[in-house]
């Protein structure tokens, strides 16, 4: 096992003080992920360093930060993939969120938006395996159909979105519009819409999407889809919502003419 001596430059901010960067040097295995380096800096050098983390395997979405300016999940990002061995690895909190302290951001308003969309976390699974977000991982594996056990009508799965906020940080419209539902909020609306036929709920969801801070604020930067670690493709979902809204507008217009 080879050890790396990694230099970190971590954004520091405590309420009432001015922001700055602190340098840390940690020894970690060369197979380590960035979260292991942050953990080492905290455990060995500075217990006042605050950062978010829980699962270490991209299910909780809490650890999202910017690594050298790019939004990533440090738990699935290998140090050797982002560190050139010379310049320090710069760690910043996400953009477009208020900063609580150091790398911790305030996700209150984010979850308010996700609650407004109210997407259920479980959904129906695909009828084949393997299932992956990484096309290279499955390039050699042919999709195989799956049978169901006796008492099952479908397999269930969690939605791909882990509510990490990376898309919100990458989106330029989030910076400009305080109340924009954001790629995550709109993608969640799309997913919630797909799962319901209740006309009241559909009207509510499409109303949100069609509203002042909905799909029309998106100006096609596509940064959300590029940055998403879970292949949610929020941009695609926003465009799908737009299609539905336009189609329903046209059918309503045509409907009126026939009357």
């Amino acid at each position: 096992m080879n050890t790396l001596k990694v230099q970190l430059q971590i954004f520091r901010y405590k309420q009432g003080q001015s922001p700055h960067y602190d340098s840390f040097v940690v020894d970690v295995p060369d197979t380590a992920h960035v979260i292991d380096a942050i953990d080492a800096a905290w455990a060995i050098h500075d217990p006042t360093l605050t950062f978010r983390r829980a699962c270490h395997h991209s299910s909780c979405g809490s650890c999202a930060i910017r690594i050298n300016g790019v939004e990533k999940l440090p738990c699935i990002t290998r140090i050797t993939d982002v560190w050139d061995g010379h310049r320090p690895l710069r760690l910043d909190p996400l953009r477009n969120f208020p900063i609580v302290s150091d790398l911790v951001v305030d996700v209150t308003s984010f979850f308010q938006r996700m609650s407004a969309a109210d997407m259920a976390m479980t959904c129906e699974a695909e009828a084949f395996l393997p299932f992956s977000v990484d096309t290279f991982a499955v390039a050699d594996l042919d999709p195989k159909p799956v049978d169901l056990p006796e008492n099952f009508s479908r397999f269930s799965r969690f939605e791909q979105c882990i509510e990490c906020g990376i898309c919100m940080s990458a989106c330029p419209t989030m910076a400009a519009d305080e109340k924009f539902l954001g790629p995550a909020g709109l993608a969640a609306i799309h997913q919630a819409r797909k799962k319901t036929d209740d006309p009241v709920k559909v009207a509510y969801l499409l109303g949100l999407a069609d509203g002042e801070h909905g799909v029309w604020r998106c100006h096609s930067a596509f940064e959300c889809t590029e940055a998403c670690p879970q292949a949610v493709d929020p941009a695609g979902k926003i465009m799908a919502l737009r299609r539905e809204l336009i189609v329903s507008r046209f059918t309503k217009m045509l409907g009126k003419r026939n009357v």
């Binding site: 330029p172 910076a175 096609s220 930067a221 596509f222 940064e223 493709d233 941009a235 799908a240 737009r242």
Partner: protein
């Protein structure tokens, strides 16, 4: 400017921040820059047209200016703006309806190459006049 306005302005100015961002963001920023440029051009154009109201001398002196190579260069820049904004706008219209979302980067590259070629051909014609 009050503190609140300054904050909003500095946040909104992030549309220009293409550091560490991908092709889609470049398209986004370019569209905004060319859009602002074209709006400014529009006002200038209307002003120039208003010279017609001032009679032949005013108009003729403008036309003489418009023949100078510096002015023709500005015309080429204007055409670049129109091509970039127009063709990228086509891409945005398509993807906005869900057509070609997966190919948005390839679409941008292709359309910008077409713009470059069209611009080159147009520049040649403009300067030969």
């Amino acid at each position: 400017m009050s503190k609140l306005d300054y904050r909003k302005l500095s946040r909104a100015s992030r549309w220009l921040d293409v550091r560490n961002r991908k092709l889609g963001m470049w398209a986004y920023a370019l569209n905004r820059i060319t859009g602002i440029g074209l709006v400014i051009y529009l006002y200038m154009h209307l002003f120039v047209l208003s010279l017609l109201l001032r009679g032949p001398t005013a108009w003729d002196s403008f036309v003489a200016l418009a023949r100078s190579p510096y002015f023709l260069a500005l015309d080429v820049i204007l055409l670049a703006g129109i091509l970039i904004h127009g063709l990228n706008g086509l891409r945005i219209a398509l993807t906005g309806f869900g057509i070609g979302v997966g190919a948005q980067r390839a679409l941008f590259t292709t359309l910008m190459v077409i713009s470059a070629i069209a611009l080159w051909v147009a520049a040649l014609k403009i300067f030969r006049v």
